[in-house]
Amino acid sequence: MNTIHSRREMLTTMSSGIGWLAFSSLAQQAVVKGGLAAKEPHFAPRAKRVIFLTMRGGPSHVDLFDYKPELIARNGKTASLGRDSSGAKLFGPVHPFAQFGKSGQWMTTLYPKLAKHADDLCIINSMHTDLPNHAQAFGQMHTGSFQFVRPSIGAWTLYGLGTENENLPGFITLNPPADNGGAQNYGSAFLPAICQGTKLGGSQLPELYSALLKKDVAPGPPMKNIVSASPRELQRAQIDLIRGLNERKLERDGFNPEIEGAIQSFELAFRMQSEVPDVLDLRSEPEHILKLYGIGQGKDQFARQCLLARRMAEAGVRFIEIASPGNWDHHNRLRELLATNCAATDQPIAALLTDLKARGMLKDTLVVWAGEFGRTPYAQSEDGRDHNHKGYSIWMAGGGVKGGLTYGATDETGYKATLNPMHIHDWHATMLHLLGLDHTKLTYNYGGRNFRLTNVSGEVAKGIIA
């Protein structure tokens, strides 16, 4: 038996099984039929892939990207805002702001390396979301819904576009937080299971070992179970047998998306064996790149992840998510912890942008920096801020967005989005648009209803598109 199957060959083999017909007619055609083969978008895309840097906890926009002279001027004054409408004490930014780049974007001075990319950043200062609770807002940021189990934006992207490399999962999430909904944030809900994000992290990557030993040792393969246990030919025959049994099971069940998912998982796993070890092995990177990201310098897990993200993007992974190393939930010790978090993320993120640009990939890679909400312009305790979902900031770069642009605005203190408010649905619609997908047409019929990422709303923010 031939050891290497082209996709066409495999489809032919697969479609000869009797199970195939039943399963293709019942499942939602495109994804299942073609596995995750790249698909035509609705219109010409500006971005081919997304690198989503998740800043969990709710970073303080009024300290980072939303410059408010009025807030500085009224520092310590009371205002009628939020729950404490009787007298919230306004609290100016805890670190200075400055203007950066030709565009003169206002940013915190805590991000000196990122600031060098000011002209690449599209800072959106008018974000808002529905609830000021972590779990709900984190879920809504990922799935559009704060209440229901819905597919993650990564799953929708994969469903809409397929993948550029069928030997790797099309949606990878690195060390996602286990709380705030856990796997639901990278889940596929009712979409085909193959669209689900694959979690890499924990003890599977060499980071933990190397961080402990303070050097890059990467003992053995960089991921567990990636080395084939049997000769490739035998394993192929074995997988064909498994597939045959699974298709038979599917045929008997009539309809069972879990079995479809299992079938595709095996095919993908088989192919991953040939490619994943290379992608995950950072040892092939030259010294200057490691240095650029800050790898080998102290705690470098996030730096490694940023570099991994670039390697995955290069290898054709469609959607890559990385969770920030620290939590941005600064109810207190804001001054100190904000600086810590910025310091931990500044160099790796700046390096990622530099690196992508140098490779000509930034133009079609959408890099997103976002938390689930922002923080209040008024103080909580002496040195902290409460959650604020009515107005906050994120930024995006590359992938067809206008660099050097500050889009939208909050009111004079930074409490509520007023100019060009961008709800999560609008933001999702815009991201899909950049990927060449019309959010109103990217639907999936489940239980007789057409579902979409943006539910029944969402407006593309044309103003941020280059």
């Binding site: 609770n133 189990v149 924990g202 179970n225 309809f255 998982s265 109810h331």
Partner: protein, 794 residues
């Protein structure tokens, strides 16, 4: 896969209001409310002045501090109307603005008189409610006592199906049902022999046998360990091992097997140390039970003792309330709860109980750990298992000498400093040297003491456990914004107000026993419901309330409210017997339905909320692994004495990756999975891959993922390869020919014979793939273990 309550809701709600009534509301009433009232009384604005919300039907009718805003049909009693009419000078709305037009007021009056039809009724809206006060909280379904309504499981399910024009599914095939029962009750597949012996007439007897099997406790004990966030290491920044945590694991398994009444089970875990014991064995058992409170993840490297104590109490409070009440009371630590009727007073009243409690978790001070803790010696019992290692008498002597040496060094240094002070000598130049000596003494002594604590003077290993006991009784201060730097008034120890169950706290005890009694009172609206729902979830794949760990406003509403009440009351009436509850459920027609897909019904209720069929389910991680061992014929059903964790040297988990004696997947055992080591952030491969509960969180509803990493584990993981080899050896030994072996392996794995197509697939595998008979049989068995059917139940 989980689903959309909106869909379910629209299905379940019977619609009797005329569309034109809603039309009047939509055109005349809603715009007025939105324009003039929502600003101060809605979810969107985040405000509920006077505790009043006007953006849902329920909220409008429930009203605020002064009473219902709208009483349908009764204009005189509707405060909304009097407020906008300005009939009461103390209640004029909208405030500080001109009165609404006469036409608008007339519209509202008309609307109220016509019964105030209001379409703004959905789970979604209700779930978004912001802070709820105690009074409106008490009106919420889960804070009210269960109601006794005549009926049984099948009646409640069938009524609702009928209302929606649906029929239940017929009974599953006997072998399908038998497999389902085996997986659900004992977590293992039936053997071909057991399948052969089974018939529907024997159903009841089979259920009873399974409930009596010691394997039952290993399956259902694990469910409780998920909820109890059981682990054998601390996790977080300082991941140190808990070498004695296994005793709590065994306690749970035994208690579940003995069907200890659930109210007693809870009481033992919260306050076992305060209960009378008839002998040493029972005393030991009750002490171990309180390990429940000691097993949590702690911030061991926290430098502030006060902060550490506050966080420890918080973790205990959170675990107890989530596990028993499915409530998030702990959210009220920093602010009144944003979506539930829990105030900061409620939180600190409970916190006082835990602050009056001492916790013994037994990690010693070292470079990672600033918060050392002792272990407690158990009474000596005949035949007692003590897996921790003894020390030689020489080693004990050596350690004692080292300790004396460290003490002497410490005294010498202190005396030196004192003397210098007396003599007025400046020794500030030696500060760093002295500090590093002090730290060395502290860290070294931690390890020495830790080692000495595990043995007696002759070096014999001692029986030890993690537990709690009462400390100094104290009320907790209410800390502003949850910060220990901002103590305000002291809050007397007590229970959340929203739950109307009395209980007095003694002055001379922590109050844990009273807390347990309060939780397990028949008057408590949550405890029985929450547990009945947890059991339901494990037998159907989804709870009646799908958010099994959240029965609050932000959780989902029950799909069958009468059913959950029925189960809760029956559960209590049976003396809180979990086995009786399980028995009633699995004997129901609802449970015994086939899982066959029905396209027409599926489109109406894709999530099967109405239970028109049994759910097809992916097996739990432990069941997948245990089944592999079972079909391969190598499962060792004996209990593992102690745990791998109790045999490790040192206490740091981060070093485990470097211990070459340990298998890299932490799995070298043929015993059941519940006995595998549970190290936080370092779980055995098989458990991690198949969505085991994260031991940092109370987990009543595990995720079910379906990703290629699982396929990689099945294809290449050493454990699966070993079981495939064992299974192959077994069928080769048992059957002489290849076709028989094919069928035998099939019967073992799936409890059925291959059909013609499958037989042909298997044969063609043997013909086309290269390798000798043993190798191919192994590869074939490997394929069966990796197939979807192996890890799904119908």
């Amino acid at each position: 896969m989980k689903a959309d309550p909106l869909i379910a809701c629209s299905l379940l709600l019977s619609v009797h209001v005329q569309a034109q009534d809603f039309a009047f509301f939509e055109s005349k009433i809603r715009p007025v409310l939105a324009k003039h009232c929502y600003e101060c009384h809605s979810v969107e604005s985040g405000k509920s002045k006077g505790s009043l919300m006007l953006d849902t039907k329920q909220a409008l009718r429930a009203g605020g501090d002064t009473g219902p805003a709208v009483v349908p049909g009764d204009a005189a009693k509707s405060l909304l109307l009097s407020a906008i009419k300005h009939t009461d000078p103390d209640l004029e709305m909208p405030p500080k603005k001109p009165q609404l037009s006469k036409a608008v007021i007339a519209d509202i009056e008309t609307w109220i008189k016509s019964g105030a039809p209001d379409p703004r009724e959905s789970a979604a809206r209700a779930a978004e409610r912001p802070p709820v006060d105690v009074e409106s909280g008490r009106k919420f379904w889960s804070y009210q006592k269960p109601e006794q309504i005549t009926g049984g499981i099948d009646a409640f399910i069938e009524t609702k199906l009928k209302e929606n024009g649906l029929q239940p599914s017929p009974e599953a095939e006997p072998v399908v049902l038998l497999r389902r029962l085996y997986f659900d009750l004992i977590g293992l597949p039936p053997t071909p022999k057991e399948v052969k012996a089974f018939s529907m007439e024997k159903l009841e007897a089979t259920v009873d046998e399974l409930l009596k099997s010691p394997r039952f406790g290993e399956r259902w004990g694990r469910h409780w360990l998920d909820v109890a966030r059981f682990a054998e290491s601390n996790g977080r920044e300082s991941n140190l091992t808990f070498p004695h945590a296994w005793r709590y694991r065994d306690y749970v398994i035994d208690a579940v097997n003995a069907d200890v009444p659930f109210d007693r089970f809870i009481t033992e875990q919260i306050a076992g140390d305060l209960l009378p014991a008839k002998d040493d064995a029972e005393r030991a058992r009750l002490l171990i039970a309180t390990g429940f409170l000691a097993l949590g993840a702690k911030g061991l490297n926290e430098m502030s003792k006060a902060q550490f104590v506050a966080d420890l109490a918080d973790e205990q409070l959170d675990t107890v309330t989530r596990a028993v009440m499915a409530s998030s009371v702990a959210c009220a630590r920093c602010h009144d709860h944003k979506t539930e009727p829990f105030s900061m007073e409620d939180y600190y009243a409970l916190a006082g109980i835990f602050k009056s409690t001492q916790t013994f978790y037994g990690t010693w001070i070292d470079s990672e750990n600033s918060n050392g803790s002792h272990l407690i010696r158990l009474p000596d019992l005949p035949g007692q298992l003590i897996p921790n290692k003894p020390l030689t008498p020489e080693r004990v002597k050596q350690l004692n000498e080292q300790r004396a040496q460290l003490d002497a060094e410490e005294i010498a240094q202190t005396e030196y400093a004192l003397k210098a002070k007396l003599e007025g000598r400046d020794i500030s130049g030696e500060y760093y040297k002295m500090l590093s000596t002090a730290i060395r003494i502290l860290w070294t002594r931690g390890g020495v003491d830790g080692a000495l604590e595990t043995v007696d003077e002759k070096g014999r290993a001692l029986p030890l456990c993690m537990r709690v006991q009462d400390g100094k009784t104290q009320d907790s201060k209410l800390y502003g914004r949850g910060e220990i730097a901002h103590p305000t008034k002291a809050v007397p120890r007590g229970f959340p107000c929203v739950i109307e169950v009395g209980g007095k706290l003694p002055k001379e005890q922590s109050g844990r026993l009273e807390l347990a009694q309060w939780l397990t009172s028949r008057e408590h609206p949550l405890t029985a419901r929450v547990m009945a729902n947890r059991v339901w979830r494990h037998l159907f794949g989804a709870g009646i309330v799908r958010t099994v760990d959240n029965f609050g406003f932000s959780g989902e509403r029950p799909s069958h409210p009468e059913l959950i009440d029925h189960l809760a009351i029956k559960f209590m009436d049976s003396g809180w017997s979990v086995k009786a509850l399980i028995r009633e459920i699995v004997m129901s027609k609802t449970y015994r339905q086939a899982s066959t897909h029905r396209a027409d019904v599926f489109n109406q209720d894709p999530d099967n909320r109405l239970l028109w069929r049994a759910n097809k389910r992916r097996l739990d991680a432990e069941v997948i692994r245990d089944s592999m061992l079972a079909v391969a014929g190598v499962l060792d059903t004996s209990r593992r004495p102690g745990s791998l964790v109790s045999e490790l040297d040192g206490q740091s988990v981060s070093l485990i990756g470097f211990n070459t004696k340990l298998p890299p997947d932490l799995d070298g055992s043929k015993r059941r999975s519940i006995y595998l080591p549970v190290l936080r952030d370092n779980l055995p491969d098989v458990l991690e891959q198949f969505d085991v509960a994260n031991p940092n969180l109370v987990t009543g509803d595990r995720d079910v993922t379906n990703v290629p990493l699982q396929a990689l584990y099945l294809m290449n993981g050493p454990f699966v390869q070993e079981q495939a080899t064992a299974l192959a050896q077994r069928v080769i030994k048992e059957k002489p020919t290849q076709p028989e072996r094919i069928r035998r392996a099939f019967a073992l794995c799936f409890n059925r014979a291959p059909d013609a197509k499958e037989q042909q697939l298997a044969e063609s595998f043997f013909h086309t793939a290269a390798g000798d008979e043993t190798k191919l049989t192994t590869a074939y068995c490997h394929a069966l273990l990796s197939s979807a059917e192996f890890r799904f139940t119908d």
